[in-house]
Amino acid sequence: MIKCIERSLSLSRLIVIDGLRRHALLALVALCLASETGALLFFDFIPRDIGRASSDFVFSIAWISGMLFLLFHAIQTVSWREERSVIYTLLARPISRNEYVIGVFLGLATLLFLLNLILGVLGWFTLIAIKHKVLTVYFRVLSPKFYLLSWAGLTAAELIILSVIMLISAAIRGGFIVLLLTVSYYFICSGLPVAKEAVIQGIPPGSNSVIPLLFKAGTLLFPDLGKLDFKDFVTVTDPVLNPVFVLTGFTLAFSYILMIILVACLIYNKRDLQ
């Protein structure tokens, strides 16, 4: 068991170094730095709710960076094509397919975490700078606790998408198709809660319709990523947030990721890699 963990961690270190070598992190951080500098100009267009708008901007830029990382670097790393024989090289070593899946996931997750850490620190100082530039009434509160919670939620949502990328890559050959399916997955996750709300509003109360149950079943497979979105609380005075709700959200995300990785491992074990 310990050997398994060691091999997985070794592979994950390779993935991290490979990512750093390809300047994946550096390029995204540079992009974010430029964008977050834009935040210093963006808030000039907001007359009153400057704190909220600036905070939303910082997190949105981070989300875009994370998605760029996932859709381009992560999919390119994970997908296997005939011309990309890394997977054969790695599996020629004494490493099982399960260890390969876990190692790649951990490596990419580490890169994602590093990216979010750097962006989080940059974002914090950007927000502090904006807060000092404007009157208190326009930027009352900047809560470090909810700032960290928002980053944790953002990272958890990105890790869910990363695990789904692992799963889709296990089943389907080719980077572009994996990218399309990942984007479709993201849109379904975003759209399902909205569609559910719209449909439920049209159902008369007390009716025994099956549709709400179908939507609920849908959210089992396509989780509502909005439940991990806590950025609305970063600049609110006296925010009210149920700790059980928060804990349940993260626990659900963690168990979903484990489940998806397990299925990915099963698929890799069954598939003929040739």
């Binding site: 963006f42 267009f45 907001i46 007359p47 009153r48 709710d49 909220r52 708008a53 939303d56 901007f57 949105s60 989300w63 875009i64 953002l154 949502a157 993201y186 849109f187 996750c189 975003s190 759209g191 909205v194 569609a195 719209a198 990523l225 909005g226 979105d229 950025k231 609305d232 609110v236 005075t237 006296d238």
Partner: protein
Amino acid sequence: MKKLFLFLVIIAAYLLNFSVQDRLTQTHKMELAPLLPAMLQQAALGFLRQLGAEMYFVNAAVFLGTTDSGQDPHEYAPVLSEYFKVASRLHPPFLDTYFFCQSSLSYLGRDYDKIVNNILDTGIKAIPDNWVLPLFAGYNAMHYLNDTAGASDYLHEAGTRPNAPSWIAHLAAILAADSGRIQMGLQWLETVEAREKDETVKKRYQMEIMEFKKACRVAEAIQEYKQRLGTYPTSLNMLSPDFMDQIPRFNLGFKLDWHPPILRLVRPRKSLDNKKRSS
């Protein structure tokens, strides 16, 4: 040489096109493009919905800054209201949407006041510690829509919020009585009086409470009349002497207004004509 010449021609053509387009853009007025429904945008934007809302707000704000003073606001009001509606749906706690919506649309007529109040309802629900938004909605209901009952509800909501000035809750009570809900107005006024710390103001509220109680006695007499005779009195004088000794006199500018079945305690506003005469 030929290649260099061709390259220079292409560059020149590009620069010429650029200057023509630039000149056209300067004379072309900024317009707001119609938006997709909020629900669709919410599904598409996902985690970025808040930024999307803020971008729509910035777009609308910049557009308002480019409008001429002579331009008829009804030309762009339908699209502008859509921007505010979508922005408020995508990001309900974002305050600026509601302020701009109120300032740019509320004076355009009853239809827009209803739209503005619908948009403000979203903000009132999403920002529970803000008293300004229900004040806006109450003002629109009172001043533009002549809906004193709706106005009193909004102002009462504003008055219960943190740091709200006490005059808002007082005005809510006055408007409740004006709309025929005298008993409710009395309860609200008693709450305002209990909370008031300034003795002079407190005394004034106590005097108003006396007037409200007189009105409540008249309302009770009307109900008793209805129960006994099966119909409402056509005039308040019919209540005396069987149901009350005499119709009370009202001070502080209050008077009763009876249009069956609604009894209102009104405080007539000074008309503009009176103001002009006095000046």
